[in-house]
């Protein structure tokens, strides 16, 4: 393991049984401790597949994944304790209240009693959801659901946090609140691996960015370094379009 790297991926390939092509093709990268690592790419580029392998949802077809020095296939139980996931879909029970959802997920992460209660109250307060705590999630706006979805993934103060498009479909205000708290979380020591289509958000949020397309990493560096290394690029979106072309994706 490299010095300071909390995630180390070597020659990772993932091929799904019913798919003729590899979803991820021989990619290697490391994520440093306390980094906000952005994995950016168009639809079908392989971002969610990479994230799913890192979370231990699917086994890799080949290659190795080390998280905090542990092999994802050999020690999945140990890894699950230190990671948090905020999926792209709102992974909440719509007929339960925000509090009930967080109570359930908190218990599943091994939290209980007063500690869990305090953490739920703290995060609901922080993300401006205290008044809505006892309302069923099905009655929430998109932004409120996203915020509860985020809390469910960070309640146990994970060492590593995987975020799959955490702000998709939410208003500017909610996005600003979410990103602000994610930055606070990072400052407190959580390493973040983040995927998004929102280049401006990634440019301001990430400390390191990899651009992935067709299952391969095309470029990787800090947003500022990437922008300066591509001629005629004024922002991360320009770099992204130069690397992935302008043709719409399915």
């Amino acid at each position: 393991m490299n010095n300071g790297a909390i995630i180390e991926i070597k020659h990772l390939t993932k091929k799904f049984k019913n798919s003729p092509e590899d979803a991820v093709k021989d990619i290697s990268f490391t994520v440093g401790q306390n980094e906000i690592y952005g994995l950016l790419g168009p639809n079908g580029a392989g971002k969610t597949t990479t994230l799913s392998v890192l979370c231990g949802l699917f086994p890799p077809t080949s290659g190795s994944v080390l998280i905090d020095g542990k092999n994802i296939q050999k020690d999945p139980a140990d890894i699950r304790k230190i990671v948090g996931i905020v999926p792209q879909d709102i992974a909440l029970y719509s007929s339960l209240t925000a509090k009930e959802n967080l109570d359930f997920y908190g218990h599943m992460y091994g939290l209980k009693g007063k500690d869990l209660k305090n953490k739920i109250a703290f995060w609901l307060e922080k993300l401006d959801l205290t008044d809505a705590a006892n309302r069923q999630v099905c009655n929430f706006s998109g932004g409120m659901k996203r915020r509860v979805n985020l809390i469910a993934g960070i309640l146990h103060q994970p060492k590593i946090l995987f975020l799959d498009e955490p702000t998709v479909g939410v208003d500017v205000q909610s996005r600003s609140v979410i990103i602000g708290h994610l930055k606070d979380l990072n400052k407190a020591g959580t390493t973040i691996i983040y995927t998004s289509h929102l280049m401006e958000e990634a440019e301001n949020f990430c400390t390191y960015v990899s651009i992935i397309d067709h299952g391969k990493i095309l470029a990787g560096d800090s947003p500022a370094a990437l922008i300066s290394s591509f001629k005629g690029s004024g922002n991360l979106e320009d770099v992204f379009l130069q690397l992935t072309d302008t043709k719409p994706r399915d």
């Binding site: 949802l57 699917f58 139980a77 699950r80 999926p87 992974a91 029970y93 007929s95 359930f104 091994g110």
Partner: protein
């Protein structure tokens, strides 16, 4: 571990109580089914038992045999006796037509001289046996010594039913004929041997050496009569318990489609804890369903004039069998939920398979009225194992030991379904 399981149970409980439609399916639907099916089947029994089988009787004999059969039919609760059609006395021809048209299920025509033929037969028998001069007896040698009684049958009546009815009729007619023969026989003997004091007052009754007693081979002293309540209450309770496969499937598929499974799979919690929460809640639901359905049989059906459910004497047996049935039902629900990929698919797969298993298991129609081939298949339905167990407890008055084999089959079924579900989940993750 315990706190995770408790959280899983609490979550499942909250999801269930907030799904009002699901709850109504679980509790109201089977209660309605018990009421409707029991009333339908009970009224069918009553049509036969209270009003009786419509029988048209034509008595051309006008003598002892005809009168005795007529008297017997009139006094028989199984028969709805009639000797007229459209207000006119029935004749052989009109009776045949009425039965053919389905106005009567059975028609009986006693020919003219039937009694005389029986008597002549007896006289002939005595003469041949004792070898006395025919002149010394009051003997009419004219006329036939045999009679042909016609039993008309509605052509659309079910064969097994007709066989049962005509057998009873034949037995009754034969008994009446024997009665006349004995009477004639004892009178003739008394005439030949003029010691009248020796003539028995009721030769037929004294001749009944072999008598029959019908006893239900139940292990309880009390006779438990199989009826619509004794079948329908346990049958629809089992059906209701297995019907929880639909909400379990809905719950599992919804977790998949809403993304909760995605999150749960990345958490430090085992499959056993997540499924355990469902199992415990739905086991509880099954037990509540059982108590409700049994209460319907014990208290509500009698209010509608139906017989009360008889539970037998083994409460241990009932407890073990109910728990085993609940385990089998929840296991089956988890399996369907695991195999289904959408809620619609789960609902169709669940409801159709339960209907099929219930039909095969004897829920709709008891297995003993099924053809042999279907009875052979029915032993593969877990609902049949359960129903068979309840029959043993409720009807045969058996103890807990008698249903252990059924309970073990149900528990084995539950373990198998859970194992297949777990295996399927692992396979699905290895994409």
């Amino acid at each position: 571990m315990i706190s995770k399981l408790a959280a899983s149970v609490r979550k499942e409980y909250l999801l269930l109580v907030r799904d009002r439609m699901g709850l109504s399916i679980l509790f109201l639907m089977p209660m309605v089914l018990i009421f409707v099916m029991t009333l339908i089947q009970d009224s069918a029994f009553k049509t036969l038992n209270e009003k009786g089988i419509p029988v048209v009787f034509v008595n051309n004999d006008k003598d002892s045999l005809g009168f005795l059969i007529e008297k017997g039919l009139r006094n028989n609760d199984l028969c709805s006796y009639s000797d007229s059609i459209h207000g006119r006395p029935a004749t052989a021809e009109t009776a045949r037509q009425a039965v053919a048209e389905g106005r009567f299920l059975i028609g009986i025509i006693i020919p003219e001289g039937a009694t005389a033929a029986v008597r002549k037969n007896v006289n002939k028998l005595i003469r041949e046996t004792i070898d006395i001069d025919a002149q010394s007896m009051k003997y009419d040698s004219s006329g036939s010594d045999s009679a042909e009684i016609d039993i008309l049958i509605d052509p659309v009546a079910k064969k097994s039913f007709v066989t049962a009815i005509t057998s009873s009729l034949r037995e009754f007619i034969s008994e009446t004929k024997t009665k006349i023969m004995f009477g004639t026989f004892s009178r003739q003997i008394a005439e030949i041997i003029p010691d009248k004091a020796r003539e028995p007052k009721n030769a037929f009754t004294e001749s009944q050496i072999i008598k029959y007693r019908e006893i239900y081979a139940s292990k309880t002293a009390k006779m438990i009569v199989p009826n619509a309540v004794q079948h329908n209450v346990p049958a629809w309770t089992i059906f209701a318990m297995f019907f929880i496969a639909i909400p379990i499937t809905g719950s599992i598929v919804k977790e998949k489609s809403e993304g909760s499974v995605f999150r749960l799979r990345t958490m430090p919690s085992s499959y056993l804890i997540l499924t355990g929460g469902k199992l415990i809640v739905y086991l509880g639901v099954c037990l509540v369903q059982f108590l409700l359905m049994i209460s319907v049989g014990l208290y509500f059906l009698p209010m509608l004039g139906l017989p009360s459910l008889v539970l037998g004497s083994s409460f241990w047996g009932i407890g073990i069998l109910t728990l085993a049935t609940a385990l089998a039902a929840t296991g089956y629900g988890v399996l369907v939920g695991t195999l289904a990929t959408t809620e619609q698919q789960g609902a169709i797969m669940g409801s159709l398979s339960i209907l099929l298993l219930s039909a095969l298991g004897g829920i709709w129609v008891p297995t003993y009225v099924m053809p042999e081939s279907m009875r052979a298949i029915s032993v593969f339905s877990p609902m049949n194992w359960s129903l068979d167990g309840y029959y043993k407890l409720f009807l045969r008055g058996s103890n807990a030991m008698a249903i252990l084999a059924d309970a073990m089959k149900l528990v084995a079924f539950s373990i198998a379904t859970m194992a297949i579900s777990s295996f399927t989940n692992r396979i699905k993750r290895k994409v």
